[in-house]
């Protein structure tokens, strides 16, 4: 029972990071109908930026803030520089371009920092919390991770719901042509979407790196699981992204905990199993609406 609680709590903590990546993918998907394969690579790079800032200033929070700002800039620049020119061309071209962007960013990080694993500081203590004498399996930092992502998701949700900028974004995601006809600058809305996605990715990178270490490929597996979470939830649904992330995080935590010595090697396979089962019954994810196919 104690074990179960521990696995659940640590699963939620990791699941929130998957949720952050998933949410960033959903933001871009809703705006451009495009899956950004470079999301993990961009998050890795902004974490290196944070690493540099922390090394020079000695302040964790300065690095944290600069990383988020770098994420915003990187997201917007990526959209303007390489995605904008592909609008109106086959989607496939843009997908390949994001893969190219991923390879480029990882190569660049390799050139600048080499392949070695670097440790990245955590904001709070990583020593496990206890309730009385029972260890809970999570630390103060894990709680911070969950709270930070949840806060970001809620802020986004409120922004979408109650601000005019959010309304414009929802309109652009709903129907590009109608949005444009009503005077919304869809191109600008898309850039903002990419910038916000960059911010969420940067947040995920800073939050996960204390437990994964930092190296050019460090975000690859996090991206893959974040992506799986987004697909499970349905790429159109921000709520689905968070739920998908939590489901996946908890499921993988149980797999790693209960499957014995092989468990940690099989996490990817368990994720694949979950993905296949979900997609078998709902090919567009759990939170998808009715299926519409354009003819």
């Amino acid at each position: 029972m104690v074990e179960f609680l521990q696995f659940t709590l640590s699963g939620i903590s990791f699941g929130m990071i998957y949720a952050a990546i998933a949410l960033s993918l959903v933001l871009i998907w809703r705006g451009t109908r495009l899956l950004n394969f470079a999301q993990g690579g961009m998050a890795m790079f902004t974490t290196y930026v944070a690493y540099e800032v922390i090394r020079h200033t000695g302040s964790y929070w300065a690095g944290f803030a600069v990383a988020l700002a770098a994420g915003v800039v990187l997201g917007a620049v990526a959209e303007l520089a390489v995605i904008r020119p592909t609008l109106g061309k086959p989607e496939f071209n843009a997908v390949i371009i994001t893969i190219g962007l991923l390879i480029f960013i990882e190569g660049l990080a390799g050139i600048l920092y080499g392949g070695q694993y670097r440790s990245f500081p955590a904001a709070f203590s990583v020593i496990g919390l206890r309730a009385g004498s029972t260890p809970l399996g999570v630390s103060r930092f894990d709680v911070f991770v969950a709270v930070a992502v949840l806060a970001a998701a809620l802020l986004l949700g409120i922004g979408f719901r109650y601000t005019s900028a959010g309304l414009r974004m929802r309109a652009a995601a709903f129907n590009t042509t109608i949005a444009r006809l009503s005077g919304i600058r869809v191109a600008r809305v898309i850039t903002v979407g990419w910038a916000l996605a960059g911010l969420l990715g940067a947040l995920a990178g800073v939050l996960v790196s204390p437990s994964t270490f930092l190296y050019p490929n460090s975000m690859d597996s996090i991206f893959v699981f974040g992506f799986t979470a987004a697909v499970i939830g349905g790429l159109d649904s921000p709520a689905g992204a968070v739920v998908g992330g939590l489901l996946l995080g908890v499921a993988l935590s149980y797999a790693g905990g209960y499957l014995g010595s092989q468990g940690s090697d099989l996490t990817a396979l368990v994720a694949l199993g979950i993905l296949v089962v979900v997609l078998m019954f709902r090919p567009d994810g759990i939170f998808s609406g009715a299926r519409v196919r354009r003819v």
Binding site: T86, G107, G110, I111, V231, A271
Partner: protein, 365 residues
């Protein structure tokens, strides 16, 4: 046209075979190894370019099929000691079955959902080797012993024999795929790619067509994995990472998606450029970390530029150059006689293509 071009394809394949044999005898052992590497890459990329370029399905997990082929080969050679030809057939059959299983799941999925499922497959499958080290040798992998046959003499270099075997498999694969692409099956793939609904209305079994594309693609990848096992003498999870799957896609795109000559161009680029770039970088006194990452960064840039500027890849450029000469020589005839696929435009994905008739369009330019 079909009657004419089959000898043409065979001629091109034979000419390439002769070239490979001459080159492998003239060049040193390291170049022979590279020839083998290129042939392996061609085998896998050709399968992927058919899947993505012709049937319009993306796969980010073909490295997993290579792993299946490689491990099947290693296990059969290790435990049963079968000759390579028999092992290759079994490896191809096993990956074909795996491809069918994935294809059945994939036939229901579209665009990003398919990319996600195949990406996860590429990540998940090699981790089985770590989970069951007793069977698959864990991180160390399994060693494969492969020798040149006795009748070639004791002094015959193994690398040359490996280059020959790999090139033979690659060429046979290319010839078969070229024929398949021009057959009814290939036309169905293109019809499904361009407009699923129109294809279904025209009587094409969409699901079966898409699954078959996956089977063909997986079989090619499986044979490439088998070749990789005998050429490197080792199958280990580190050889089948997601980087491999992405490299395959990169090669297919740079060469020109959906074209078999493009698979050859792309493979040449992806095998030769890193070695060359690393050589140049180290000779200029750069550290190994920098030298080994320069090709990676360069690929990224090339991939982006190709997609922005030349979406038809190298083969598109080659065809354009040929066109400059051929158009004046043979007026008003289409270029469909070329031993590749006439319609080289990148797949439209789910974008609604204009309701074109689901057969080959003539004179698309």
């Amino acid at each position: 046209m079909t009657v004419q071009s089959t000898p043409r394809i065979l001629g091109a394949a034979l000419a390439t075979a002769v070239l490979v044999v001459i080159a492998s005898i003239k060049l040193n052992a390291f170049r022979d190894y590279q020839i083998a590497e290129i042939a392996i890459e061609v085998t896998a990329v050709a399968g992927l370019t058919v899947l993505t370029g012709l049937s319009g399905q993306i796969s980010l997990g073909n490295g997993a099929f290579m792993a299946i082929g490689g491990y099947t080969t290693a296990l059969l050679m290790l435990h049963l000691g079968w000759p390579f030809v028999a092992v290759l057939v079994i490896a191809a059959a096993v990956t074909a079955v795996a491809g069918a299983v994935v294809g059945v799941a994939a036939a229901r999925l579209h665009g990003p959902y398919l990319a996600g499922a195949t990406l996860l497959l590429g990540v998940a499958l090699p981790s089985l080797a770590d989970a069951y080290p007793g069977t698959f040798g864990g991180d160390q992998g399994l060693n494969v012993v492969f020798t040149a046959p006795g009748f070639l003499g004791v002094n015959f270099p193994l690398t040359r024999w490996q280059a020959w075997v790999s090139s033979a498999v690659a060429l046979v694969t290319l010839v078969l795929l070229a024929n398949l692409a021009r057959s009814r099956i290939g036309r169905n793939w293109r019809a499904v790619r361009d407009d699923e609904v129109a294809a279904a209305l025209a009587g094409v079994n969409v699901a079966r067509s898409r699954i078959l594309a996956f089977v063909v693609s997986a079989t090619c990848a499986g044979m490439a994995g088998a070749l990789l096992a005998i050429v490197t003498g080792l199958v280990a999870p580190g050889a089948f990472t997601i980087t491999l799957s992405i490299a395959l896609l990169t090669a297919a795109v740079i060469g020109g998606l959906g074209t078999l000559p493009g698979a050859v161009w792309g493979s040449l680029v992806i095998v030769l450029v890193p070695t060359y770039a690393t050589d140049v970088a180290t000779s200029h006194g750069l550290s190994t970390a920098v030298a080994s990452n320069i090709p990676l960064a360069a690929y990224g840039v090339v991939l982006i530029l190709v997609m922005l500027l030349f979406p038809q890849g190298v083969q598109g450029g080659v065809r354009w150059l040929l066109g400059l000469f051929l158009i004046s020589a043979v007026p008003n005839r289409r270029t469909a006689d070329a031993p590749d696929v006439p319609d080289a435009r990148p797949p439209a994905g789910e974008t609604p293509a204009p309701l074109a008739p689901p057969h080959e369009k003539e004179g698309t330019q």
